[in-house]
């Protein structure tokens, strides 16, 4: 009677593993479920690394296709998601190499580890400073600020703090050691804080004024 799939195995096995097994047995619908579960995250990660929307679209497709093709190589000792992120990170780097026609595109590019390792700005922020900006202004600030970080810091911050991977999973997905992830995470967090302080410090931006009638560029002189 009952054909309900068990949610997890006896040993608290991750529910993705059951889906992976079904895909391996030829069930494409199970893969559909996995793709739907992680496609937004993979797209975001790819866009953070490539900083280009079209590249992120291609990476997302190629990563899921590659994961499907290589599913027999997936070992159940890692999470499926971590394994997938690693594929997406590699696909993103490959895409950058193609675009730049330069030989060296890596996670270590532009890493100046001393920079930003010590806080300099000690101004306190306004309470709920993000509310002083409308949604598109805030997105713009956040995007520009994170894009200013070296790729190797940016991707660690994104995986660890935005996508909520553990330190160990982040290390695994990026092929880095745990101490390297920790050191990059601290610097990424401090550099972002320092850069955001410009916008969020108390008095940085007065409370929003009533909307002016659309100011035309022609009003500006000189």
């Amino acid at each position: 009677m009952s054909t309900i799939q068990p949610i997890a195995g006896d040993a608290g096995e991750h529910p993705d593993l059951a889906l992976v097994e079904r895909v391996r047995a030829g069930d494409l619908a199970a893969y559909d479920t996995l793709v739907r579960k992680y496609e937004r995250q993979i797209f975001r990660i790819a866009q953070h690394i490539t900083q280009n929307r079209e590249d992120a679209e291609d990476v997302m497709q190629d990563a899921f296709l590659k994961a499907y093709e290589k599913l027999d190589q997936f070992q159940g000792n890692a999470k499926f998601y971590t394994w997938l992120v690693r594929i997406a990170v590699n696909e993103s780097l490959m895409r950058l190499r193609k675009r730049r026609t330069s030989k060296t595109v890596s996670m270590d590019e532009d890493l100046v580890t001393e920079e930003g390792s010590v806080p300099r700005d000690f101004a306190d922020w306004a309470p709920n400073p993000e509310q002083n900006y409308d949604t598109s202004e805030l997105s713009d600030i956040l995007r520009r600020t994170i894009n200013g970080l070296p790729r190797g810091f940016r991707v660690v911050f994104v995986l660890r703090d935005v996508e909520n991977l553990s330190t160990e999973e982040t290390a695994e997905a990026l092929g880095l050691s745990v101490p390297a992830v920790k050191s990059r995470l601290l610097r990424a967090r401090l550099q972002l804080r320092e850069r955001l302080s410009r916008y969020f410090r108390a008095g940085a931006k007065p409370a929003p004024l009533p909307q002016k009638s659309a100011a035309s560029p022609a009003e500006r002189r000189g």
Binding site: G26, R40, E57, Q61, P119, D161, L196
Partner: protein, 82 residues
Amino acid sequence: MTCTEFLAMLDDVIDEQIAQETRAEIEIHIKKCEHCEVVFNTTRKTIEIYRSHEVYELPTDLRERLHTAIMDRCAKKKKPCC
């Protein structure tokens, strides 16, 4: 505790991976040191803001288009088992 020692533990403090005894020391330091208090609060806020505002959204129509493309391409491949 010095500011340098505090900074070295900042990530663990933020991620709440600090032993009870150290936590007490940290709280004492933060109460005395305004700079470290600001760094702690604003770093935590930085993470919170990035976590709650998606910098790159995947619009529903694009998501559906990409999803269909992925599944179509997978369907054309042979199944991944041996």
